[in-house]
Amino acid sequence: MAIAVSQSQQSVRRARKNSPMYRAWQRYRRNGFAVAGLGWVILFFIIGIIGPWIAPYSYTYADFLHMHSGPSWQHLFGTDTVGYDVFSQILYSVRYALEIALGATCVSFLIGIVLGLWAGLSGGIIDMIVMRAVDFMFALPSFFFALILVVLLGKGIFPMILAIGVPGWAGYARLIRSLVLSMRNGEMVEAARALGAPQWHIARRYMFPNVVGSMVVSLAFGIPYDLTAQAGLSIVGMGLNPPMPSFGNMLAQAGANILGFPWLLYFPAGVFAITLLSFLFVADGLQEAFNPKGGM
């Protein structure tokens, strides 16, 4: 025990100046990929905000003199078949991609948290119905739902947010329900009740801090999924209409011209792939960081 005490004293000294959040950051920092990914994600968000202002050309400006030209100083990533500047197109696309992906993730999460809490807290028949609905959603590809919803709602940013977001609730509902169930019957909550803690105190001080990590991680994994879905809809022609810039539209066009003008594929696909990977690295890093048993 003496060894254990001295060990805990050491860790204690660290803990004294380090808040749990700081320690989570310490754990996050150990993961190089996660840090690099975070850098790219931050850049991506910044571009999402300021992209339209730093873009050298408007997304509606077609340079007819330099159609399908390769990368040059004038057109960094080249131009496409109608003379749109690919670099500018990408800068604009980031904003719409982020708007749709973040919006859709929020919609999924909101529906999921409401249904998950409802199922987990009420149990019985309600729990059964919600869980069967979750099974149903998992049994059918959500991309298929998204397509149907786009047909019903029409094209545009807001319909796309709903089309991708609404079918995505099932995973969040299941996660939140399982968190609620494991906590509600767990010894930690029982101990808090034995101390005389009121319900809201238990929820705020005991349950929430122990579930927030899982939720953030699942959100971080959800965003790249919705980014993909958003691009996927555009690729099959159910996304934003050209000339609205979107990764999906660019990729679809690039695919059609892959033999003649490969840079049309390289740059948008490269940016998109790095972005997806970065989000996944960040999610992975968060998962490690939020595990309090992860050591230092």
Binding site: A4, G186, P209, P292
Partner: protein, 318 residues
């Protein structure tokens, strides 16, 4: 002048409904416990001893019976009415790590107990955390650590400190040492004894370790399938183990013989504890009882007094 007992448990029963079937967890258990004394609850896993502890604390609601604490019937109190009473009745868990939030430091966990009841200012509570940690034999720096950074024995001391922070009268020790190393078990038991003396604590000590229960308890109740099969003062119950179940439990204790000639063969109880969903007919212990007769298989035994206060539920006792 004989004061009324701190805790009276009267004919308490608890049944759980599990997928349409009824599980008899605790059946008509009664006992009384005076302040400053220790009640030992023994039995195998599944005998209902932990459920009984939770019923006393109103962490579970009894289906039948009454629990009177400090002269007040707490059986029908609302959760809100129970809250101030929780200061007086605390629990120490078998697995201290599971009973604490992994995201709260030890200090925060102990302080939160007091904060819930609005005891003192933040500074006063912090000071009290230091005192409590010292009292249970831990260095005060432990308060900055997280639960997973401590050993099982240290954590159990923290669990004790947290329970003590509210100055309880009654502490339910739910298998507080079964998850600990043998060397640590002794330390924790000594600590519990000291604290009992210092603060005049009343314990309900739940354990399957008969030797420890014998050592600590004034009163003992032996549970089998939710029913008390033997009950009485500890010395009497262990000196004259009248109920066959008490006998087999005692024989299954591992003892160090003084020399090898005195080595005794261990006897274990035959079979497993039956399913509480459909308990055996007659005396619930009859399928495993070495002395079972036809009467035992058919008729439920009544409670009989076999000593000054030692009572057993057995047909064969007289």
């Amino acid at each position: 002048m004989p004061s009324s007992p701190l805790l009276q448990v009267e004919e308490v029963s608890k049944r759980f409904r599990v997928q349409g079937r009824e599980l008899h967890a605790v059946e008509k258990v009664s006992f009384q416990l005076d302040a400053g004394k220790t009640m030992g609850l023994v039995g195998e896993s599944g005998s209902g001893k932990s459920t009984l502890g939770r019923l006393v604390l109103r962490l579970l609601d009894a289906n039948e019976g009454r629990i009177v604490f400090n002269g007040q019937d707490i059986t029908k109190l609302s959760p809100k009415q129970m809250r101030p009473l929780r200061r007086d009745m605390q629990i120490i868990f078998q697995d201290p790590q599971a009973s604490m939030s992994p995201r709260m430091t030890i200090g925060a966990a102990i302080e939160d107990a007091m904060a819930i009841h609005n005891i003192g200012t933040k500074a006063e509570r912090q000071k009290r955390v230091d005192e409590l940690l010292e009292r249970v034999g831990l260095p005060t720096v432990v308060k900055y650590a997280f639960p997973h950074e401590l050993s099982g024995g240290q954590l159990q001391r923290v669990g004790i400190a947290r329970a003590l922070s509210l100055n309880p009268k009654l502490v339910i020790c739910d298998e507080p040492i079964s998850a600990l190393d043998v060397s640590i078990q002794v330390q924790v038991i000594q600590l519990l004894q000291e604290l009992q003396k210092d603060f005049n604590l009343t314990y309900i000590f739940i354990s399957h370790n008969l030797a420890v229960v014998e050592y600590l308890s004034d009163q003992v109740a032996v549970l089998y399938l939710g029913e008390v099969v033997a009950q009485g003062p500890a010395e009497e119950l262990f000196a004259t183990p009248t109920h066959p179940y008490t006998q087999v439990l005692l024989q299954s204790i591992l003892k160090m013989p003084e020399d090898t000639d005195k080595r005794q063969a261990l006897t274990s109880i035959q079979g497993e504890i039956p399913s509480p969903f459909n308990p055996p007919s007659g005396c619930t212990f009859h399928p495993r009882c070495p002395f079972a007769t036809d009467v035992c298989r058919q008729k439920k035994p009544e409670r009989k007094l076999v000593g000054s206060q030692h009572s057993v539920t057995c047909h064969l006792a007289n």
